[in-house]
Symmetry: C2
Amino acid sequence: MPARLKIGKLVVIGVGLIGGSFALALRRARVVKRIAGVGRTRRNLADALKLKVIDEASREPARAVRDADLVLLATPVGQMPAVMMAIAPHLPAHAVVTDAGSTKGDVIACARRFLGGRFARFVPAHPIAGTEKSGATAAVPELFRGRNVILTPQPETAASATRLVQRAWESCGARVTRLDAQEHDAILAAVSHLPHVIAFALVGMLARRRNPGRLFGLSAGGLRDTARIAGSSPEMWADICVANRDALLAALEDYENALEEMRAAIEQSDATALRGMFEQARGAREKWLVKKQDRADGIED
Amino acid sequence: MPARLKIGKLVVIGVGLIGGSFALALRRARVVKRIAGVGRTRRNLADALKLKVIDEASREPARAVRDADLVLLATPVGQMPAVMMAIAPHLPAHAVVTDAGSTKGDVIACARRFLGGRFARFVPAHPIAGTEKSGATAAVPELFRGRNVILTPQPETAASATRLVQRAWESCGARVTRLDAQEHDAILAAVSHLPHVIAFALVGMLARRRNPGRLFGLSAGGLRDTARIAGSSPEMWADICVANRDALLAALEDYENALEEMRAAIEQSDATALRGMFEQARGAREKWLVKKQDRADGIED
């Protein structure tokens, strides 16, 4: 049995739902001694201090990481270059850096460029969890319990760094899987980024129809569920779509082909063909999603 | 104030979730004296009798309607021609017939053809309610409370017949709206039939990708919600798609255009354009769906 995980100082850059929940979960697991939070707004840092999500607050990442053992980058992906540039010269040699970004290829390219000599101790990661809420006040220690966290270590990544990050996430109750970064991006494009684009496109198209008030007024649960993720942050999702462009375009093409097959069957009034396609989809949902759904109630991506 | 609604004998043809709930709601409102149920399977009729959804059961629609005051056709749309043909010669002159089909243009055409001289006492209707369950055991008297019921009376429809059906649905707690049949079909194509096609297409496409188990295993709440209606009945939805073909194809075309705009922006890595489109969709959801959602929790279409 390996020695118990011990982290001296954890620095969370971006103390929002994800960063804050990671801090709370590690504190509850008693594997971390001290937690520093770095953020852009005083208000959110004050909330994080008050709620004991963090022990100390700072608005300067460079200073905060000077004596860090583990650094979690939990900012929006667009801020990563600036943050990495700022912290790289100040990281202790043993410090491990990880992130929580929804796309991995672009974050890895960014780290390779801006972390320079520290790249071998950077462990790219993606916790697949979240709710529609945000900010330190939304953080809860059980957010990652039973959730998947994907690590996409690179050939240069030190095995000891990957092990540390894996054990930290396991301390949060997460199931840790390692994946090729490109495969991660292809899968997430299909199961997460594409459904978001679909929801935004559907709701946007309905809003442009004649008399949208009446239209939405006569909708029911089907539309409500499909439209839920159209309530997600436009900034964050525009960034994700651009960051994961190629994989998303490939998934979109597959989807448009599936839609075209259905359109052709509708045009030909071919109920038998439609029924066959619908049955295949229903069977797949039954087989792969329904059990998972029972497990995942209440948590969204 | 109009005289209290009184229905002597109600005949429900198709004692499933919708037909059974209509019977239970009218019984609870004490506006109906006797309820006969007509169905294809002995088992479901026995359940309906046992649960006091109906007072008498029959497998012969022609005989059941002989002394009917109100007849609800709550079978799948595909069975309507045969049922209408069977009952038309046996309906008392005063009897009112209504239906609960998801599409109206095709049901009206069918009634015009098969009800013949009785067409003026046929009131086309669509209660927008349901759950994923089916059969008489799923029936509940409160299913229609606060739900929309659309009536699409035709020029020939007797005003007294429309009034009776309207008051019956109001007795169930529903909000009754009258709409042009073509407009009904266009709206439902957009807010209900299209989202179902989208869900079937998305789940079907994911199922055909490499390693679907891993793919679905790494999905989260976004996909789960979009995929829920891909669990709907393939037979029923194939019929609806064909019955409402033209309106559905028009909605599908609008949607594919919206998707193409997003695809173009992704191809050009135009985060600003994407953000604008996503914001428009989020705003529409907020304005037209979120309040409705609070009202509608737990009921699906």
